[in-house]
Amino acid sequence: MTKRDDAHLLSGAYALDAVTPEEAELVQSAMEHSEELRSEVVGLTDTAVALGLGLPPVAPRPQLRASILDAIQTLPQLPAPAQEAEAPHEEPAIVQTAMPAGAHVVPARRRRRRRPMALLAAAATAVLLFGGGFLVQRTLLEPQSEYTAVVAAADVQSARATVPGGGVVKVSWSKSEHRTAVSVSGVKAPSGKVLQLWSVRGGTATSAGLYEDGDRFALITGTPSSGERLAVTVEPDGGSTQPTSEPIAAVPLDA
């Protein structure tokens, strides 16, 4: 059976989010080359939405509305796509900005569905919600001085974890600087892969950006909340929306 047959066979399960991340990639890739498959996936995704509309609506507690409306007050939005293209790419990357190769040619429906999360993982200038309520962003300020400001702050706290087989992940944060710095040393991602940082709280991982070869550190806006951990995984180039491998390190952040 060819890969294309495999992908076609998966259209239904893909529309129901019942596939593995690898299979999802296979389907997305096949959709770029097959209008027939793309059209089928769009139709089945709409069918899945109809299943959702078939459920009785359940009103959430009023507190949730207040909490969400409060949260967006300080939560910037992604730039519109046209503006994004003009975003600067040259300066030293803090949280890296690489998009998945070929992302700009992925057609239509699934792209719309997948892209927001890919962008959340990797967008230039985007500010991302960290699981514990702290914000991640690519800073456009002078990076080294920001890093120094964190690690030299009077109230700096830090935590570290070793990577089995060698390597250290160090996390430092300062409430007065309102910044968290992450440095990964002694670890190199294999070709075509990248290190990705995650905020982990309970069972939920939220991307805190990519850490690509050559980065000396990543800066995150905000400081961790109690019980939060910072995990590092090896992901396909461009990053993932959720971890696809076991963490090589997880640093408890006892704020």
Partner: protein, 197 residues
């Protein structure tokens, strides 16, 4: 560094009768009033779906909050010509809820048990529910047109958040069979519900 979007000081009343698509377009400009209206008009749908998958109300609220913050952040990416706003939001909601289901083995085990035990009863409840929607009746009818295996597989995937391999284990059939039954079932549902893309 955090830039707070300028609030849209336009006429708030102009949004009262907006469609979700129009509201989402206003949300994309940073309009918080439009976002509140969008929340009010869609949150029971989104929360209803997420709670169906996660069961636990606290987790369902957490995930619903994540979904609406993602809607706020990514509203600039929504393209009306590619589908309705509700479709965009529910697709995002399902993915997020499934991600949460898979994030914890314990919750997966729990949901699997609940899914197996309850889905038939759940459908009876849906049928008897006084507020059952037209869509609900249509979906129920369409699901009745599937074979037993197709119906179970589609329901466990969509309402239970199970992966195809988990469904295969639950139903004691090979994974390949689950994949084809899900695809056949979804195509049949699509045709029965008149979904056009």
């Amino acid at each position: 560094m955090l830039s707070v979007m300028d609030p849209d000081v336009g006429d708030a009343l102009s949004g009262m009768r907006d469609t979700p698509e129009q509201r989402l377009a206003r949300v994309a400009t940073g309009d918080k009033q439009a976002f509140a209206e969008l929340y009010d008009s869609t949150s029971a749908r989104v929360y209803g779906l997420v709670k169906r998958l996660l069961v636990d109300p606290a987790q369902a609220e957490e995930v619903t909050q994540e979904i609406y913050l993602e809607i706020w952040q990514t509203a600039t990416r929504y393209q009306q010509e590619r589908g309705s706003a509700m479709s965009w939001m529910l697709t995002m909601a399902h993915r997020r809820a499934v991600d949460r289901v898979r994030a914890s083995q314990a919750s997966r085990d729990r949901d699997t048990r609940i899914g197996i035990r309850d889905y038939d009863r759940e459908y009876d409840q849906v049928a008897e529910h006084v507020e059952v929607t037209m869509e609900g009746a249509r979906v129920k009818r369409a699901l009745q047109g599937l074979t037993e295996l197709q119906r179970q597989a589609v329901q466990l995937a969509y309402y239970g958040g199970l992966s195809h391999s988990e469904i295969a284990a639950e139903l004691h059939v090979p994974v390949g069979t689950v994949k084809t039954r899900i695809r056949d079932g979804m195509i049949r549902l699509r045709d029965a519900m008149g979904v056009t893309s």
